[in-house]
């Protein structure tokens, strides 16, 4: 398992993406899966940066593990911010016209549709969100 801990800021999203991309490239990940994972990182780490530490700053850890036999990558995002289960959000209505559309909830919806698995746990004061994707 590899792990990176950084300040949970939007400005650190590229660093997290580069960290995971290097590991995915070593693992021989397809370009399509890598880009889908990059989008998921943007959505999930971006959520943490925006909402986990209201009025303050905190860290977030990103863990990567590879199941070589199953050809799956598992990435876990951990923060110690306010409890937030993005999977408990209502699914957005993706059939509304442009006038009625907002993009609220669209990011996590996209992650759920493009990853094989998404799990959330609240444990020991931490939000633990895990995505698994066939690479």
């Amino acid at each position: 398992m590899k792990e990176l801990t950084v300040r949970a800021t939007v400005g650190n999203i590229p660093q997290v993406t580069a960290f995971i991309d290097a590991l995915l490239e070593d693992a021989g990940c397809s370009m399509k899966a890598q880009m889908q994972i990059d989008v998921a990182i943007d959505e999930l780490f971006g959520n943490i940066a925006h909402y986990a530490y209201p009025g303050g700053a905190g860290d977030a850890a990103v863990r990567f593990s590879l199941d070589e036999a199953a050809r799956t990558a598992t990435i876990t995002f951990i923060d110690s911010g306010v409890p937030f289960n993005p999977l408990a959000q209502d699914e957005p209505d993706v059939t509304l016209s442009a006038d009625k559309r907002t993009v609220g909830g669209l990011g996590i919806y996209l992650v759920r549709k493009t990853m094989d698995r998404v799990d959330y746990q609240r444990r020991d004061g931490m939000n633990i969100l895990t995505i698994t994707k066939t690479i």
Partner: protein, 98 residues
């Protein structure tokens, strides 16, 4: 992300290169701000765009709403990853994609 703007008559062409995400979406928003007033139509060229996240969708939706009062907005040269995002989110039904 690189943003290249070209004016062709009353049409504004905006070519994006790189990633349209949480970090770069404000750059596109800023680039379009002001430029859309003088344009009658908007063409977004995604030939060199790697991917888009929901932060980028928010900017596209806003630009689409602005341009729908005029001659509209078109998104061209969309790759497989971007197309999937448009499909999953229903943006495929909202946007004019070529």
């Amino acid at each position: 992300m690189n943003i290249t703007k070209t004016v062709n008559g009353s049409t504004l062409n905006v070519a994006l290169e790189g990633r349209l995400d949480t970090v770069t979406a404000p750059d596109l928003e800023q680039a379009l701000k002001g430029s859309l007033d003088s344009a009658d139509a908007l063409v977004l060229d995604f030939a060199k765009l790697d991917y888009i996240s929901s932060a980028g969708l928010r900017v596209l939706l806003s630009a689409h709403k602005t341009m729908s009062k005029k001659s509209g907005m078109k998104v061209v040269n969309v790759n497989e990853i971007v197309k999937e995002v448009f499909d999953v989110t229903g943006f495929v039904d909202i946007l004019d994609i070529e």
